[in-house]
Amino acid sequence: MQEYLGGGRLFRLCLKELRESLRDRRTLFTLVLMPILVYPLLSMAMQRLVIGAGSRSAGGPVEYIVGAGDEDGARVVASVLRETARAVNDGVPPAIEIRRQGASSEEKSTTGDKSTMAEGGTGFTADAFRIGEDVAFSIVIPERGSIQDALRVGNVDLAVTRAKREQVLPDGTMGLEYDLEMEFREGDTRSEGAMLEFRKAMQLVNDMQSLRLRSRFLPRVGGEIVGPTVQLVSFGTGKRGDVFGALSGILPLILILMTITGAVYPAIDLTAGERERGTMEAMIATPAPRFVLLLSKYVAVVTVAILTAVANLFASWLTLSLGGLGRALLGEKGLSISVLVQIFPLLVIFAAFFSAILLAMCSYARSFKEAQAYLIPVMLVSLAPGLLVLMPGIEFTTLLGIVPLVNILLLSRDIMTGSPAVLPAFAAVFTTLLYAVAALVVAARLFGGESATAGSQETWSDLFRRPRVERSAPDLGELAVYFALLFPVFFIITNLLGSWVEGIRERLWMNAAVLLALFFLVPTLVAWYRRLRMREVFLLRDWWGRGIGSEGRGVLGGVGVLLGVLFLGVGLWVVAYEVVKIFAEIGIGPIDLERTEELERAKNEFARIPLWLVWLTSALVPAFAEEYFFRGYVLSAFRGRVSRVRAVVFSGLIFGLFHVVSGSHLTLERFMPTVLLGVFLGWVAIRTGSLWPGVFLHAIHNGLLFWLTRFSPRELAQWFGEDNEHFPAIWIVASLVSVGLGVLLIFYSTAKRFDENTP
């Protein structure tokens, strides 16, 4: 394998595939011509749609509807809009002209022509103020439901939630002060547009009033009373759900579909095409490993897909910016460069995922036609979740974060229209990459299968079929597929657990049960089915040297290992805590305040639970189940395939990743300390050749942490000093010494025992 991965050979192999793809006219067509054609056409179609939906009265100004909760509120708003009119009448910014239309709110007349907007309540009062040529406001009071409901369902564009008017100077309208609070639908172009226009109008009032007040009162009272006349506070509700919100989902869908389209042709050509050209057999007959052959093809397909994504991003940006459609679809910012920069990595991740899927499907096909026949349903199936994203009111939840395609679509939509939730975003990126690796493993097994016929190398069904012979470790392909299946399940369960189970005791039990099921029971069944030697995979041996026919260091060595583990356990948690602090200080994974409070609450609840229960469910069971899986199954898949150092680091990284998802939170701050702990645990497992010292260490570590949560901050401060940020230096030094001692003890108590027995 090494001779293919090093010395630039892999690069040359990739280059050949890329050359073949990029010189093909059909690839160039989707890469260059499609974006040039699609976006202008789309822009034209959308422009019609947006114009139609944006201005409800065709030809006239856009009329925004301001909803007031009661008559007083409506009166205040009408009054302040009249102030605007007054400001304009005085001749200051000439760009805005205000005309009053319809009946005044004071007269409480109902205007029949706006009844269509009054689904939340019939017979509302209305005032329409036209500002300039383009904008008009009307005021309505929904008669049924709250004003927030009216805003949510789109009957009003702005909701007045507080409206006060005060006479501060005894001089008619001159001395009025307004205090307004309004809500708008965040990410909804129409509502955001209404807010923007309303704010402009209020700014005008303020400017005007201050000007007049200065000229009139300045000689008498100085500048003190001159302040903003209108105090306006506005809140986004974070609700979208109108036609614009839905339209903002179209762009990611189109970008993603175009990226797929770019990858389709190269994927077919480089796999099924090889068969059709008669080059497959000659290629498969070479000593180049199939995974390397497929990897080079994969790199080429992903590269073409990424180039297509870049071409499409550029074309869409150009079209949306030139036509002004971007602002209509995505709010004031339009499609900014910074949004493009955020969307691009998503498209790359998606390209990585879908290219692997395409290659897996095409590798199965024997001809170009067959591959096309497979891909058309795939494309159609991909469209279905795409359309789901377009439906109004679909939120990017944690659960949707693990659904392939949907997750990336929703994440792109949320990036375009606001800030996406962190946990679903993490789930989307992580699971998509995981699925890509699994698909690539399957593709590598399918690739070349037909021309070589069965039996020559592994096939994809080997991944699921029961092998005939016993094996001492799972292979990396198996591990990748297992992860692609396990992680979404783990993710869903840890997320739903919080909402399923009420009490903290029950939650502790459930958590322990889930850990045992996913990390002990399922791996055991998988290992049995796949004929893995349990003892070797899960390191089910004693640690004092009688396992695996080795002399070891006997009972004395066994005691040394235990002592070493004890020292490690006592010292490691302080080191782990300091790692969290150091990383939080340099800005990686800071603990947010809201969660600190939540942790505090959890801590208080914890304090009421008997210590034995906490230790059993949160220290002992996780220690066993996680060691069984991570130091057993995961580590053994890496062992013997990569160097021992890498095996320990890789399994530690995976261990860390699984701990980042905790309940419904993304606990990034746990990553580094968990990786660190995972590395130590991996080293202990490799060194001793046994699962048990690691279980012991893990249990001590968790047990100590949970024991400490039972003390109040005051009590803890007595021990560790007042400084909340770091442990006192003496503690840190003592912990490091303890860790060092532990390492030395284990090192000298095991002395190469494991190395001699397991390659």
Binding site: E3, Y4, R9, R12, L13, K16, R19, E20, R23, D24, R277, G278, T279, E281, A282, M283, I284, A285, T286, P287, A288, P289, L293, S451, A452, T453, G455, S456
Partner: protein, 246 residues
């Protein structure tokens, strides 16, 4: 050197098993051309694939240069070159790019690959078309490129699977000349063909396969002695008839 011992391969076809190759043994020495002959469906390609390590035999084994193919499958492939009936070229690559690509697939060092490309270009008369896209080549040129491809890693053992099928007289002549070159370089050549007249011209020894079993084996003289007939064609017709009657 190729040694095949008691090769056996069964395929499952619609529930019933079909024995494609049954107890086939032969050996090909260095600098020797061995003709694996037989009508369509005799088991030639299956045997060849087992020799290549693309198919795992259900029984028996193959040794290449003294190493069993089931022991070091990838290592064996460095020793083998394959030219087959259906070989194609990459239309969008130039001849040079394609040949260097295969050199990389066989993990040949770039410098050595470059030298060998020059040498083979001279030998097979493709020097003038090295930078031409493969899609623009004539059938004869494509065939010469394919022959060069099989030698880019200079394998001691060469497997030729029906190399003249679909070629005209000139094309076939190129193949014969190529086989002479291989022989001159001391390579073991295993030629599978149903063109018996051609085999008679170039092969040193023969194995006559029929219905998956080796019916006769040896030099042309040996075969004449065994069958009492002068030409391979006559031997074959007799063989098939004998079988039909039997």
């Amino acid at each position: 050197m190729i040694v095949a011992t008691e090769l056996r391969k069964e395929f499952q076809v619609r529930g019933s098993s079909l024995v494609a190759v049954d107890g086939v043994s032969f050996r090909v020495g260095n600098g020797e051309v061995y003709g694996l002959l037989g009508p369509n469906g005799a088991g030639k390609t299956t045997t060849l694939r087992m020799v290549m390590g693309l198919l795992e035999p259900d029984g028996g084994y193959v040794e290449i240069g003294g190493v069993r193919t089931d022991v070091d499958r990838n290592g064996i492939r460095h020793q083998l070159g394959l030219i087959s009936t259906n070989d194609g070229v990459y239309p969008w690559l130039s001849v040079r790019e394609m040949l260097l690509y295969f050199a990389d697939l066989y993990a040949v060092e770039p410098k050595i690959a470059k030298d060998r490309l020059g040498e083979l270009a001279g030998l097979l008369g493709i020097g003038g078309i090295l930078d031409q896209r493969c899609s623009t080549l004539s059938t004869g040129q494509k065939q010469r490129v394919t022959l060069a491809r099989g030698l880019m890693h200079d394998p001691p053992v060469m497997l030729l699977d029906e190399p003249t099928r679909g070629l005209d007289v000139v094309g076939s002549q190129t193949v014969f000349e190529f086989i002479e070159i291989l022989k001159g370089r001391g390579k073991s050549v295993l030629l599978s063909t149903h063109r018996l007249d051609e085999a008679e011209r170039v092969c040193d020894r023969f194995g006559l396969l029929h219905h998956g079993t080796m019916r006769y084996e040896g030099t042309l003289g040996d075969l004449r002695e065994q069958t009492g007939r002068e030409h391979l064609v006559d031997m074959f017709i007799a063989l098939i008839r004998e079988r039909e009657v039997g």
